[in-house]
């Protein structure tokens, strides 16, 4: 039986063998692997890229104090970006499942329509949820647009739900019973996170403080975006402009929004407006980034 970490090793090795750069998780809180710069920004522009990384993904509203066997505040996604998407991308994907010991001649695999959309990122794609014996194990998306920009090259994004895959392979009814490494369960490693962040997100997060932080990060991102030298012909000045730090500020806003939302602190009338604020920043960064890529030496 493969442990949780062995599943990750094998998948990373599989994609490394197919030319993917193996990245480490991004070090700013995100709600999904898609939001990391390695996906959100790299899919823009014509340059080919292949990358795979595990991304802990925080969804404050999904926390259940560690009491629900299938629901987590923070779950782990293995994110794979293949840009451009190879013609045999589905075969390659199925091969990755075989690489972690799933004999697909003995299982039922189906691709069910599931188009992905992230309004706060101005991004959407066409794709499927991949069902293995009735269990959704992967979201498979052909990106079409990101940051409101039609993509030059269509990347395939594979997002594996690692806890689900591990529970499937190890035949566990609760994610907390997954063997992470010999002698250690998922619960041993992660239970405290689930409990404490649930308490914080639902009960103790200080709403005025979070709003203040939101405004600060938003202000910093907006300040940087406003300073991006849009018209200048000076390619060097453009190339050194800190868009990646600006994007970090956007990610901070996104996570603060999710936390405030879980806390029940965002009223109906505010909600749409706050989403718009984050979207505006994300789209702004994406557009500046596309420009920077085009003009940078």
């Amino acid at each position: 039986m493969l442990s949780f970490q062995q599943i990750i090793f094998k998948l990373k090795q599989y994609w490394a063998d197919r030319g993917a750069i193996i990245q480490e998780p991004y070090d700013v809180e995100v709600g999904a692997g898609t939001m990391c710069p390695e996906t959100f920004l790299r899919v823009l522009g014509p340059k080919p890229y292949r990358v795979a990384y595990v991304q802990p993904s925080r969804r404050p509203a999904d926390g259940r104090y560690g009491e629900n066997p299938n629901r987590l505040y923070k779950h782990s996604q293995l994110q794979v970006i293949l840009k451009p998407s190879p013609d045999d991308v589905i075969e390659q994907y199925l091969g990755s499942l075989e690489a972690i010991g799933i004999d697909l001649t003995k299982h039922d695999i189906k691709f069910e329509e599931d188009n992905w959309e992230a309004p706060t990122l101005g991004a959407w794609g066409i794709g499927w949820q991949v069902m293995l014996d009735g269990l959704e194990i992967t979201q498979f998306t052909y990106f079409q647009q990101c940051g409101g920009i039609d993509l030059d090259v269509v990347p395939a994004e594979l997002t594996y739900g690692l806890e689900r895959l591990a529970a499937f392979l190890q035949v566990k009814d609760s994610v907390y019973e997954i063997e992470w490494a010999p002698g250690f369960t998922y619960g041993d490693v992660r239970f405290a996170d689930e409990l404490q962040f649930s308490v914080y997100n639902f009960e103790m997060a200080d709403v005025p403080t979070l709003w203040k932080l939101f405004d600060l990060h938003e202000g910093e991102a907006a300040r940087l975006l406003a300073a991006y030298p849009k018209k200048t012909e000076d390619a060097v000045q453009k190339a050194r402009f800190p868009l990646l730090p600006a994007y970090d500020q956007v990610l901070k806003c996104s996570n603060l929004f999710n936390t405030l939302d879980a806390r029940g602190a965002i009223s109906v009338t505010e909600r749409v407006g706050v989403i718009q604020r984050v979207r505006k920043l994300a789209v702004g960064v994406a557009q500046a980034w596309a420009d920077q890529q085009e003009t940078a030496p």
Partner: protein, 631 residues
């Protein structure tokens, strides 16, 4: 020589519900080429096959006229050169040199090679994608291979870098790639675990569950037929203790989330079994069965957890929480909507049960169960209300208040449920129209057409004479929905609906009654002639610009005119059914013998007044001039 034709467009998995419309679109385009194709499809291929194609289209000939007979030699030579011949090849017809230009018919394979790429990329899909790059071709999913054969030859063309050939692909794991001919195609795919015919796949599923009492679900069956290339049903079990949960919840989890059929026991109750349909040939080790059982167990555990969690807070205590649930960005929260709906139910004459139901109707939107299984909104609220000892009138009204969800669905079973459903839908319609969220063409994101049709259906079928009370665009919108309902759902003819609605449509049950009467008298011998006469009267009045005036019996001429007047008096206040027979000959005779446009203006005005009165008499029943007559 007559040739068989095969086209297989190999793709990645196409959404099940888009496949049949895509086949129709492809078939129609092939029809345009004169190819009557039989269509088949699996999730990964769209297939067209035909027999009896000609190898070559017929030759054509055209006679080209050249210079006159007496024209200079140079001109004749020039004409011949242009046709690629010498003057000796020309004919003389009448006064002119002519040439019979023959064009050999094109080879069918060339015609197809030229047209198929365009045809394939023109297949209509609701949503398309690009995959080779920004300006690349668009299709529903990436095209990965193309089989195109005419007889034994490959029809050569290319789409998105994919060249046509004679090689197809079998099942993703049980099959392989294989060369085919038009005659071996289906069998070779079958050997590679792909059943090309939807009918055969359907039969395979039905056959596999024939020994079970499976809850009938044609829509799910169709989905599964187009979700698998080699569908095989398997029976799974779940812990009978989950049967404590309401059937509605269990069936929703199985059907909507897992695409399983529910199974009934001998007494017709839900049994602790389910049928999953695999996209593979068999499950000899029971791995797929166990996998699906585990997924279902987790889902049911979630549902039970939600059920128990939700009981910690009564529906009645959740009303205030609706302030945090958006109804629509421009229309505020569900709390505001709830308050409006309660008021509206009151206005519509709802009793205290109906008002209570309206107050609680949306509370289930704050429950864990509905957050997870949104399609159970209403139903869950009803079940919780029942559990929390709300009276039967109240919980049933909550349970039913989204009904009818389609024109095939039933209306809410109780008066309270009907009123809450009407008020909820009317509120949505009024709100959306007020802020400009009005459906256009095929775009109707808030399903306002369904909402309005639901209101109409309830009012008619529950015999509720309530004013719809709206004006402007919303009134026009409702008028269209009323027409749609009576025509498409109830099968009245469109001119009958127009005629009856022209009289009035503010009271829908009353409109329904008139329509039934109209339908009944329509085939009687006097009806259409009378309707034709009424149309004539309407035209006469319109041309005369006559809008009513005094009627003076003293001005009547004896004979047909006064006889008609007497008949009009006799039939006043009587139902149309009893007067038609006597009225028709009098009207006919009048038009036969009497000139409406009499020279004396007073007489003329009087005749117009009489005809006007005749129309007025039936105006509240129908405007007969809307009836299309054969005469």
């Amino acid at each position: 020589m007559s040739l068989p034709f095969l086209l297989e467009i190999g793709t990645e998995e196409i959404p099940d519900w888009m496949i049949e419309p895509a086949l129709e679109s492809l078939k129609a385009q092939l029809d345009g080429l004169g190819i009557a194709a039989c269509m088949d499809a699996t999730p990964r291929r769209l297939v067209a096959r035909a027999d009896g194609l000609v190898e070559r289209l017929p030759d054509t000939a055209e006679r080209v006229t050249g210079p006159r007979k007496g024209a200079p030699e140079k001109a004749v030579e020039g004409f011949a050169r242009k046709q690629g011949v010498t003057p000796a090849d020309l004919a003389i017809e009448g006064e002119y040199y002519t040439y019979l230009r023959k064009t050999p018919g094109r080879r069918m394979i060339d015609v197809l090679a030229e047209s198929l790429p365009g045809i394939i990329l023109k297949i209509a899909f609701p949503k398309t994608m690009y995959w080779t790059g920004k300006n690349g071709p668009r299709f529903i999913r990436p095209i990965r291979w193309l089989v195109a054969l005419l007889g034994n030859d490959v029809i050569p063309f290319e789409i998105a870098g994919v060249k046509s050939g004679n090689v197809t692909y079998g099942h993703r794991r049980l099959g392989a790639r294989a060369a085919v001919t038009t005659s071996t195609y289906e069998q070779i795919l079958r050997d590679n675990f792909v059943i090309v015919s939807a009918a055969d796949r359907r039969a395979r599923i039905i056959d596999g569950i024939s020994n079970l009492r499976v809850k009938d679900d044609p829509a799910l069956l169709e989905t599964l037929v187009y979700l698998a290339e080699y569908p095989t049903p398997i029976l799974g079990e779940f812990d009978p203790q989950f049967l404590e949960l309401p059937e509605e919840v269990l069936i929703t989890v199985m059907r909507h989330h897992q695409r399983y059929f529910s199974v009934l026991d001998e007494a017709g109750h839900l049994a602790p079994w389910f049928v999953a349909v695999m996209n593979t040939s068999a499950d000899p080790e029971g791995l797929v069965k166990r996998g699906n059982e585990r997924v279902l167990r987790a889902r049911f555990n979630d549902a039970r957890f939600f059920w128990q969690t939700d009981q910690k807070k009564r529906l009645a205590d959740r009303v205030e929480d609706l302030a945090h649930v958006t109804f629509q960005a421009k229309l505020g929260s569900y709390l505001e909507k709830t308050n409006r709906v309660v008021e509206l139910v009151k206005e519509l004459g709802g009793d205290r049960h109906a008002q209570r139901a309206a107050l609680l109707a949306k509370c289930d939107l704050t429950t864990e169960m509905v957050k997870e299984f949104t399609e159970l909104q209403g139903v869950v609220g009803g079940l919780y209300a029942k559990l929390q000892n709300e009276p039967i009138e109240v919980w049933q009204a909550i349970y039913d208040h989204y009904k009818p969800e389609s024109m095939e669905d039933s209306i809410p079973r109780s008066r309270a449920g009907q009123l809450v459903s009407i008020a909820d839908k009317l509120d949505t319609l009024r709100g959306c129209f007020r802020v400009g969220l009005i459906p256009t063409g095929s775009r109707d994101p808030f399903a306002l057409r369904r909402a309005a049709q639901g209101v109409v259906k309830i009012m008619v079928e529950a015999d509720l004479s309530l004013p719809i009370a709206c004006d402007g665009e919303l009134a026009d919108f409702f008028a269209d929905r009323v027409k749609f309902y009576f025509r498409e759902v109830r099968g009245f003819r469109y001119d009958e609906v127009n005629a009856a609605m022209a009289a009035s449509w503010s009271d829908l049950p009353e409109l329904h009654t008139r329509l039934l009467r109209l339908k009944k008298i329509r085939p009687t011998p006097d009806f259409e002639p009378l309707a034709a006469s009424f149309k004539r009267i309407k035209n006469i009045l319109r041309q005369a610009g006559f809008e009513g005036g005094p009627f003076n019996p003293a001005l009547l001429e004896s004979g047909p005119e006064s006889e008609l007047s007497d008949e009009i008096n006799r039939t006043k206040e009587q139902p149309i059914e009893t007067v038609m027979q006597a009225l028709r000959p009098k009207v006919d005779l009048f038009f036969d013998k009497v000139l409406v446009n009499a020279p004396d203006p007073a007489v003329r005005a009087n005749r117009l007044a009489m005809l006007h009165n005749l129309l007025e008499q039936f105006r509240s029943f129908a405007d007969f001039s809307e009836i299309i007559t054969n005469s």
